[in-house]
Symmetry: C2
Subunit: 279 residues, 2 copies
């Protein structure tokens, strides 16, 4: 099932063509997006996703997105959704190259896949892959758009295919010197005792909406949360390595580069329940 | 004027929607493209562009493009073109996420802009920008797709906006240590005496079709052509710094980071004429 909606709140047929061939979102990956989980008609971390959409748009020098339109489109998808859990994509592009400068904005709903739901429970195997940039690059080279959630996602997809080739489910990106960044579609959280740690977004990584939600509710439940740098070697003796993302939510990494990590199923279950208590 | 054509050789209205909202070319920048210059109905470096399209597709693990279909689409645009110089885009995406796996393939023709034609004659001012990756990264991290001409081009566009902000026309990407890579949409050629030099594509840069054509014809005209590494400091005392690309062709860099480079108008004129003699 797919539902597609426009900023005026009307629906469009998702099986019909929708964007022009010269849309810069298509020709140049020049646009931004968010993916929101909607459970029982309720979008999770809506404000956080809209904030990040605005932040990404600013990094790409796009006009600030018309949030009222984005919300109407998103709401229309939610209102017409009759399936199970909904993955709601919000997309804003720079519009048609040959057009009048109007951005292309839409909301597209699709079913949360069985694989994502399974990995919430079973966890994932991951490989560490070099993302190629140093920890200080994002601040000195903003034109590289590090940490923007843009439509130029081919590298993220290629990294996941590389994982699949190596028999793994997911990827932990690192700097060339082995500092942990993020997953291609997730935020890394390291657990040690009662402390959760995530790498700083100043490294050129995406500020995580699900990670932020987890940190907020966990802090209220007595956990310590901190932002700080993580070395890939730290992952091997942590109490849990988690990948947080909007649709798959909180998945524990049980295997890294073919080596089993210490069993984190209990701490994962506790944190997953803690996260769920927010909704 | 815009002309849009499909792999079966039929035309479509470029002002109407053409791709689905869930096309992975749009949602993920997951596809490849080429831009071919067509003058008087004759596409330039057609074989070179198709070779590179196939190479880029392989880097993205896409199915090998149906070149007969790509050619039919391109030919249909050329046959129906009634304007001046034509910039012909050839695009292949991974197709619709919710579809049957069929790639999206089209050819889109648009007019070569006045700015590109002017810069062929007047040259450009450029700034050097750090691309953030080291010279050896492409070979050890193929998942970063360095040197693939993918639809994930947001960074290339952001770099050009950064140039504009600094009052310049174009960009020379470098490694963090100041080794020259390429332009966001062009190949760099350094001229010293009767020798042309371009950086190796093993650095993770696009093999240039126009640069290759220039090298071939220049070698026949008595120039020495070589592939080798170039330091950004070398640009300041070269006899010419050229940016070669399919549509703008060969543009000389007259100013780099605000400093005037030695006058290269004569050597540029000679090489531009040499290049044109090929067609």
């Amino acid at each position: 099932m797919r539902v597609l909606a426009l900023p005026d709140g009307t629906l469009a047929d998702p099986d019909q063509p929708f964007v022009r061939a010269d849309d810069l979102g298509l020709l140049r990956g020049d646009g931004v997006f968010e993916t929101v989980l909607v459970v029982d008609g309720k979008p999770r971390e809506w404000a956080g996703h809209l904030d990040r959409l605005v932040r990404s748009a600013a990094m790409l020098d796009l006009e600030p997105p018309d949030l009222a339109g984005v919300e109407r489109a998103g709401r229309a998808v939610i209102d017409h959704w009759t399936g199970g859990e909904l993955a709601l994509r919000l997309v804003c592009t720079r519009g048609a190259e040959g057009g009048d400068g109007t951005p292309t904005v839409f909301a597209l709903g699709s079913e949360v896949g069985a694989k994502a739901r399974r990995q919430r429970v079973d966890g994932v195997s991951a490989i560490a892959l070099d993302r190629g940039f140093d920890a200080d690059l994002a601040e000195r080279a903003p034109w590289l758009l590090l940490g923007a959630k843009s439509l130029s996602y081919a590298v993220n997809m290629a990294a996941l295919r590389e994982a699949e080739r190596r028999g793994a489910d997911d990827v932990v990106f690192t700097t060339p010197s082995g500092e942990v960044l993020e997953g291609p579609t997730s935020t890394l959280v390291l657990v040690r005792g009662r402390t959760l740690r995530t790498p700083p977004s100043a490294l050129g990584i995406l500020p995580g909406t699900t990670q932020a939600a987890l940190f907020e509710v966990a802090a209220g439940a007595g956990w310590t949360t901190e932002v700080g740098r993580v070395d890939v070697a730290d992952l091997y003796d942590a109490d849990a390595v988690l990948l947080a993302s909007s649709v798959r939510l909180i998945a524990r990494v049980h295997t890294l580069d073919g080596k089993s990590l210490p069993d984190s199923s209990e701490v994962h279950a506790e944190l997953a329940a803690c996260y769920e208590s927010r909704y």
